[in-house]
């Protein structure tokens, strides 16, 4: 209720954009548009737009299904069909949804893909996912874009060259063949200019957590903010308008000295400022968030909001080097960073946003995030002397969200933060 009352213009804009996309998808045939399934990390939105295609993001469908309490049944359906209990639940949720008729989160049917654009930045599961989907959609064209890992904390010229060659000699000609549209570099450049602008705005938005109180929650609300830039609107005027509006609303909150908006209204007192590593749980998203805001904890930065691109270190799309910049974008998504880079990025967030603590939400089914999190946490604890907390849940499998366990752990963690605070104040 409270949230309804506070619905901002940016929220309305976002809803219109997303509803519009799903409507277009439901009418893709009538609109004569080709449909391109792809993933968020390393998404080539600007290129997809250049070919007038409509994007489908299977991860988004999975997380939306979880928020609408449908994922449990989908996952079970997939498990009946030889999918293991122990793998990424996004995949199983998607496969289950497909087996049950492929009706998307808005209740409209999702069309079959013309292209499966496999740019599997930062996670091998994506590769397996589209291998699985290819068997379901034999007529779809799979276009592979292999993004090299930033293993040595750098994007070398040979990595860029490898990706540019793939884009130029394989991806673009195959997109031309499927869509019947000739590649228009000037059009791509126009999208890149707009992408850069949206990236500037979103960086400014996430940087507002420097203020006290922080005007936003950069994790729980952050996942809404990254929606447009991640799900196909990067590179459009709509996205720029949305982020401009959002930024203006947030700056107004700063001016008024207000804290973040939560589902139960405005957070009154900011007691703890935290940085969170790892994706959220979607099946009990509201309950999960509530544990934090009830304790006066606001998330001032999170790694998850960088999964579709890391912009806070200054990297931007660049229309003067169109393909090179698409290549660099893919390589620069969070899970494509090596472990020391991830530690450096999170440490910078803790320092820049003056966080009181660091929490890892370890996701059972996501090795891309989870493998290495414990060592990262220890190093951050040792070098920054910041209290660290650790909880476990899952993305979309309701069986792995234990409310009482998580609540207990977080309560003890907040007690520890409280003690630290009072000790500091005494000193």
């Amino acid at each position: 209720m409270a949230q309804e009352a506070q619905k901002e213009r940016s929220m309305i804009l976002q809803k219109e954009m997303i509803d519009g996309l799903f409507n277009d998808l439901a009418n893709a045939k009538e609109l004569g548009k080709k449909v391109c399934y792809t993933f968020i990390p390393g998404n080539l939105s600007e290129l997809i737009r250049t070919f007038d295609m409509l994007p489908v993001y299977p991860e988004i469908n999975a997380l939306q299904s979880a928020m609408r309490k449908k994922s449990g049944a989908y996952i079970k359906e997939a498990e009946k069909n030889a999918h293991s209990e122990d793998v990424c639940t996004y995949v199983k949720c998607d496969v289950g949804m497909l087996m049950k008729g492929n009706v998307g989160p808005t209740g409209l049917k999702i069309p079959e893909p013309d292209i499966l654009l496999l740019s599997y930045t930062g996670c091998f599961t994506f590769l397996k996912w589209f291998e699985t989907l290819k068997r379901e959609y034999p007529n779809a064209k799979v276009i592979m874009v292999h993004t090299p890992y930033q293993e040595n904390a750098e994007m070398t010229p040979h990595m860029v060259e490898y990706m540019v060659k793939q884009l130029r000699d394989e991806v673009i000609p195959q997109m031309e063949a499927v869509t019947g549209i000739k590649f228009d570099e000037a059009k791509l450049k126009r999208h890149l200019v707009l992408a850069k602008e949206a990236e500037d705005w979103i960086t400014k938005i996430f940087d507002t957590t420097k203020h006290r109180p922080s005007p936003i929650d950069a994790y729980f609300a952050g996942v809404y903010y990254i929606g447009p830039i991640n799900i196909g609107f990067r590179g459009t005027q709509e996205a720029v308008d949305y982020y401009k509006e959002l930024h203006a609303e947030i700056m107004e909150r700063v001016r008024l000295g207000l804290g973040p908006i939560t589902p139960e209204g405005e957070m009154k007192e900011e007691k703890y400022r935290l940085v969170v590593e790892g994706p959220p749980n979607w099946t009990s998203f509201r309950e999960f968030w509530k544990i934090f805001y009830d304790m006066g904890a606001v998330i001032v930065a999170s790694s998850y909001t960088k999964v579709g691109g890391v912009y806070d270190m200054g990297w931007r799309h660049d229309e003067t080097r169109p393909l090179e910049s698409l290549a660099e974008y893919c390589m620069n998504c969070y899970t494509n960073l090596n472990i020391p880079q991830r530690i450096a990025l999170l440490s910078k967030c803790i320092t820049d946003y003056e966080a009181d603590g660091y929490i890892t939400n370890s996701i059972k089914s996501c090795n891309s995030f989870s493998a290495g999190q414990l060592a990262m946490m220890r190093e951050i604890e040792d070098t920054l002397e910041v209290p660290v907390g650790f909880i476990e849940s899952d993305l979309v499998d309701p069986r792995y969200f234990s409310y009482s366990n998580i609540k207990n752990r977080l309560e003890s963690y907040f007690q520890m933060l409280e003690q630290r605070k009072s000790m500091k104040e005494t000193v």
Partner: protein, 394 residues
């Protein structure tokens, strides 16, 4: 080394020597020698050899290494091998190994490379990105650059600039190595009683811990021995093991499958040593290109290689036919995403093709196989009962 038993005993010791004694001795024998550890699955060991170094396979501690520190690095729902590799490193078993290579296989191995970097283990740590683009002028060139990067690291240690001649010589040695291993598998296809899969496993795995020249000398002798009609045939079905390419099952499990009524005529336990099918051209002016081309065109199917252009289920089905196998055992390490995510693809196809299979999971440190043995026994019995039925219907 005069009898087959002596060779097998030596290989058994070498395979599970967590201190890599033979490799370290080899290094100590001459100034400037370098050891390079590599993780599963595959790595082109030829280039290491040509650079005056030796590649050492690091496959975890299996059931021989108690995990104490490693568990603090990995959550319970991550497979076992990274924690056992970290344990080996922290307990100094990997000391004297100069550099470490983490081939691109999955997110766990990839992130483990970051932990090695973070912990500053070794003189270099290289995550080796194998191309998923299979055009020689795109993926092939990238792969060559990745290999050059590895050679650069070794050169920084020993100063050796690799020559075309040295590379061709190394390619030739590994061609011989793979050819002899293939020969052993081919003989076992028809006469699996001549040597158990456990013994074959020791022989192949030992090759990842000793100089290739020494391994080739042993293989030559083994090839001679198994040409002889040794052993006694038993009433067992023939199976293929698929999915166990990274974290290795405990030896007890490898044995249990054959004890439960199966001859394992093909497997992917030590896939890396057998990844390239056939010879790599050892006579070219550009040996790195030859290695890269072989990876692109002659690789065995694998869960870490994007396969849509050459679907893995049909490749495995073909292998079933060629090896005359009665069925397939899908054995996956617990929490092994690449293997488990492939399982529905294989199983859906095999249901349609009428190829019989069973599937189970294991962990390298578990040495209790009662349930698995019963499952395999029942599988073998059911196939024997149905032996008049055609095994493959498509």
């Amino acid at each position: 080394m005069n009898t087959l038993k002596e060779i097998i005993d030596l290989c058994k010791v070498q395979s599970f020597d967590m201190d890599f004694t033979r490799a370290k001795e080899w290094k100590a024998e001459k100034e400037g020698r370098v050891l390079v550890g590599y993780m599963p699955i595959y790595f082109p060991r030829e280039i290491i050899h040509a650079a005056g170094a030796m590649a050492v396979g690091i496959f975890g501690g299996g059931d021989r290494k108690q995990i104490i520190k490693g568990d603090a690095y990995y959550q319970s729902y991550i497979c076992h091998i990274p924690r056992s590799i970290i344990e080996l490193a922290l307990d100094k078993h990997l000391d004297h190994i100069d550099g470490f290579i983490f081939p691109s296989i999955c997110d766990v191995i990839r992130n483990l490379s970051g932990i090695f970097k973070q912990q500053k283990i070794g003189k270099f740590v290289k995550y080796m990105d194998f191309p998923q683009n299979f055009l020689p002028e795109i993926g092939g060139v990238f792969y060559q650059q990745e290999m050059e990067h590895v050679l650069q690291y070794i050169k920084e240690i020993n100063g050796i600039e690799v020559t075309k001649e040295a590379l061709n010589h190394s390619i030739d040695l590994y061609n011989k190595n793979r050819k002899m291993i293939s020969f052993i598998y081919d003989i076992r296809q028809d006469f699996p009683w001549r040597m158990s899969i456990e013994e074959v496993y020791y022989i192949v795995r030992a090759g990842t811990t000793m100089p290739v020249e020494e391994h080739n000398a042993l293989l030559e002798k083994v090839c001679e021995f198994i040409k002889e009609d040794i052993g006694v045939p038993q009433d067992k079905i023939k199976v293929i093991i698929s999915g166990a390419f990274c974290e290795q099952p405990a030896i007890g499990l490898i044995k249990a499958i054959e004890e439960a009524g199966c001859y394992v005529v093909e497997d992917d336990y030590m896939l890396g040593s057998r990844m390239i099918l056939g010879d790599i051209d050892a006579t070219t002016d550009n040996p790195l290109e030859a290695i890269s081309t072989s990876y692109i065109n002659q690789s065995q199917y694998s869960s870490s290689i994007y396969d849509v252009h050459n679907p893995k289920e049909f490749r495995l089905a073909k292998m079933v036919k060629e090896r005359g196998a009665n069925g397939v055992i899908f054995a996956s390490a617990s929490f092994c995403d690449p293997s488990l995510l492939d399982a529905p693809i294989f199983q859906n196809a095999f249901n349609k093709l009428g190829i019989r299979y069973i599937a189970f999971q294991y962990s390298e440190n578990i040495n209790q196989f009662k349930v698995i043995k019963e499952q395999v026994g029942a599988f073998s019995d059911s196939i024997k009962l149905w032996e008049d039925e055609p095994v493959i219907t498509a």
